[in-house]
Point group: none
Chain length 209, copies 4
DNA sequence: CATGAATGAGCATTCATTCAT
DNA sequence: AATGAATGAATGCTCATTCAT
């Protein structure tokens, strides 16, 4: 068995890692990858700049961790929406809503994805692109499975369910960007309902007879 | 009346402005906003760096012009798709295809949109965001009008036609990003068809009887 | 024929390069490679730091140029000593003296050789080591040739003449380090004479009969 | 009287000091003073970084101790060569050989001497320079004494014997550097013999009659 | 107008040293 | 005595922008 101090230290170390991520997220919610200097993140975390390097080997590593965390949260949001059950319309609505909710919570994700590409090493860029693609495929896959057990969509070809799922996430991003620009929160509900309606129709085969 | 030389000079000046944009586009098709240095653009344009400042007041201004030009091209692509006429399915398919085609041609647009956020001034960022939103609204509006004269969609509420149009562009972006990552060009056709099918369905009210 | 401005500009550029080297030499005569920051060199040269990079691609490049210049001067010093002619003793004495003179003038060379090794890239280190070795071989070769036409040494085997030449340069370095430490300039003359005497003897075969 | 534990503790402390020096020597045999970080030395010594500071007040102090130890070894090597006895040629040959052997064993010495200059304080630099000079004088003095009892050299003036001794060490360094560069171990023996021959001759007065 | 040398603010990263545990 | 997390000063290099020619 380990010494109790060892355990505590490990917990503290992990807590500090999280605190740094939190600080980075705060900074990135208003600045881009390049504007977000390590100086500022350190100061936001109330740590010396050098300390960051005890937790993350360099700037890209820090942001990758942040992305990782954001994506995990995203998957949780999607899973939550799915387990809710109910009719197709509700499923679509909830998933859209949760996606938007996630994007609002993790504004920094779009910022990083959008602005980090530049100075990342070739390898890091590739890794980031793959991470994004894989996470989306994962979420779309889960959603497509949920569609597969809905009465309205169970007869659709698999590829349509998958395409529909991806279209849903694309729509969520569209709404998010639109709303981010107009800042009119009252529109959001209406937009979500508009998209929901069309998505449901896109996924519904006309009942044969 | 103006001296004829004045006219010629003006034409030459405009031509030079375009040449600089061309050079910038070439550089940006492989580099991000930050990697693309003015040094390189100047050298690509076979001009001295200082000369660029006679045509654009600073780096953001240069890239704004580039975006402006890219969006104009985008509108032309969309209009072209619309005037083609034919059944809804063809309209959707062509618009998707042209959008993808535009994104491929103007890779730099996504790059700039994606990576410029950083060092733009607050004002410039706002302006860029609005430009993007307005251009999309414009294109979506045009497309919605085209839907309005299609037999399958003329009975839809206006808001559905607009939402459908925006969903189409969101889908195009989704496909583009996906393909940019996987580099498998053979998938594109299939993807476009998948999305087309769902979009048509989303826009089609079940015929009463 | 070239435009006159072109010529002038080139001359000015070259002059600036030299001025930078001079500034670097001044800084290095009292600081080591690491202590000598580009900030300080720039300020010594009365230029902005960034300007240095218009003339030398990085810190190692600047110091390599400095070494190159120093070695060229060294070869000139040695050649001068050789062409002086006269008996063996004078040749040895003059070469020792000139070597010491060079080391005093180019104090920075020892400093750089001595302190740069550290942060140079693998390739640069190799290059520096080879430069040092080659320059010494070159000088020793020239000196050995001069020995070959002296009555006292013409009968020596070639390898002895070469070894003697190298021993002379090793002796010069020894004296230089010694004197650099003790700062007693009056000793120098005596030391040179001591070493000269022994070197001449080392190079002189006992006359047969 | 001291408590026995006190004695043991002192011994242990001394042993730890030596262990740290060993670790430092291992690291310095492949890295320069600047590349050799305390992190690495601590890890090589299997100690925490902070612990080093219980034994040496700072980085220079650690390296001074290392130099001290290296010089002591050098003196032992020289003394060993001297006590061997035999004809002058053998004495010269053995001393050259042992010097080379020492330089090979204590590569780190040249490295430190060569690369430490930088961040040492003014005082430390002076101290190091004096240490080097004094150790050389000491060794040269011992060797000159040995020459004084050799039949071939006993009639030489004292200053010649001292100069010869110093020339020998200078030659050793020359050979060492040359060999370090060319990596051709087979040349070493020949070089040593060349230098031996000339040094013996330099030290030998033609017997009058 | 065109040029390109000069500028200098800005930033990621390293590492010797300290000190609370 | 041992630890190792925290510190923060220090520095090489980049690049948008200016301006004298």
């Amino acid at each position: 068995m380990e010494r109790p101090t060892s355990k505590r230290k490990e917990r503290e170390k992990e807590a500090r890692r999280e605190a740094i991520l939190d600080a980075a997220a705060r900074v990135l919610s208003v600045k881009s990858y390049y504007e977000a200097t390590l100086d500022e993140i350190a100061s936001e975390a109330e740590l010396a700049k050098g300390t960051l390097y005890n937790y993350y080997k360099d700037k890209p590593a820090l942001f990758f961790s942040l992305m990782r965390r954001g994506f995990d949260l995203f998957q949780r949001h999607v899973s939550e929406a799915i387990v809710g059950g109910g009719p197709l319309k509700d499923l679509v609505y909830r998933t859209l809503k949760n996606s938007l909710c996630h994007m609002a919570e993790c504004k920094y994700m779009l910022r990083v994805i959008i602005s980090a590409g530049a100075h990342l090493s070739e390898d890091n860029q590739q890794e980031l692109a793959e991470m994004i693609r894989d996470e989306l495929e994962l979420a779309a896959g889960k959603l497509a499975e949920a569609f597969a057990v809905q009465p309205e969509t169970e007869n659709l070809p698999e590829s349509d369910r998958l395409t529909g799922a991806k279209m849903l996430f694309a729509s969520a991003r569209q709404i998010h960007i639109r709303l981010a620009t107009s800042l009119d929160n009252q529109l959001q509900e209406e937009e979500i309902e508009n998209y929901t309606r069309l998505l449901v129709r896109a996924l519904t085969t006309e009942k044969p007879e």
